[in-house]
């Protein structure tokens, strides 16, 4: 075999190896997104659940006074679990610990509470964002929620029952839906609301899916 033939052979072989390697890396990235990110989020949720159970235990002699004290407490630090969210429409076992904060690191652990919004149960609008794809995808099927569906938010001192009022698709810049009275900057809140936020379409980000709910009931203390 002549030298030029060998050179061509070597080049083609090198190119083929490079392309196969790129393909393998892309496949691994897909694996990372749809499997590994879920595994990591599940592990984070496990830790958060334990921490949250401990917090709830500490607040166990829950009285109205304790609840009031908790409500008056300073804002929780970023990344800590603040409440347990349950939405029966998304499954009997559907339960997530909501963390404080909505930057990438917090949303990797679970649904995140917008720090500038009301705390769950408080007057105003408690807003929570969650992944719709990858990282455990807590809000994957948020579009299935219908008006009247209950949403339970359990803090260490109380359980709040919200009822879904409506869904909407908005532009990613429409921060108005997070206001104490959604889309009414001047209005004073007279109701306690909950707003869930996720991306839309599910594997895209051109819009945001918004679910609004109103507080309808509240039980102090532990409720299972």
């Amino acid at each position: 075999m002549g030298r030029p033939a060998q050179l061509v052979r070597g080049t083609v072989r090198g190119a083929a190896e490079l392309l196969l390697t790129c393909g393998a890396v892309v496949l691994l990235f897909a694996l990372y997104l749809v499997v590994w990110s879920d595994v990591q989020t599940a592990a984070a949720q496990g830790d958060l659940r334990d921490d949250f159970a401990r917090l709830t235990e500490q607040a166990a002699p829950a009285t109205k006074a304790a609840a009031a004290k908790a409500a008056a407490a300073p804002a929780p630090s970023t990344g800590t679990g603040i409440a347990q969210l349950r939405i029966p429409r998304l499954g009997e076992d559907w339960s997530w610990v909501v963390v404080e904060g909505v930057s990438t690191d917090q949303l990797k652990q679970g649904p995140g509470h917008f720090p500038d919004t009301a705390m769950p149960g408080q007057l105003g609008n408690a807003a929570i964002a969650g992944h719709r794809a990858t990282h455990g995808e807590p809000f994957a099927h948020l579009d299935k929620l219908q008006a009247g569906d209950p949403i339970y938010v359990t803090t260490p001192t109380a359980t709040y029952t919200y009822e879904v009022t409506r869904q909407a698709l908005v532009a990613p810049s429409e921060v108005g839906v997070l206001l104490p009275v959604p889309n009414k900057p001047e209005a004073k809140p007279r109701k306690a609301r909950l707003t869930l936020v996720t991306c839309h379409p599910r594997w895209g980000s051109s819009e945001r899916l918004i679910v609004h709910a109103n507080l309808v009931a509240q039980t102090t203390g532990m409720e299972s």
Partner: protein, 62 residues
């Protein structure tokens, strides 16, 4: 590329195989621990919060 790597690996064939597997695992670990988390923000999947447009100047809740 891989032929050259194989030639560089020392020892008899079983040792070479072991080393090659270790190298591959190290490469995959590096991808999962550093490369992929760095690439992830380029995809739309973690763009889920609402943000005021930059010109607005209000606090961006993202």
């Amino acid at each position: 590329m891989y032929t050259a790597l194989w030639r560089v690996l020392p020892g008899p064939t079983p040792v070479k195989v072991l080393l090659a597997v270790l190298l591959a695992l190290a490469a995959v670990a590096a991808l999962f621990l550093w490369a992929f988390p760095a690439l992830e923000p380029l995809l739309p999947f973690d763009k889920i919060v609402l943000e005021a447009p930059p010109a607005d100047g209000t606090s961006a809740t993202g």
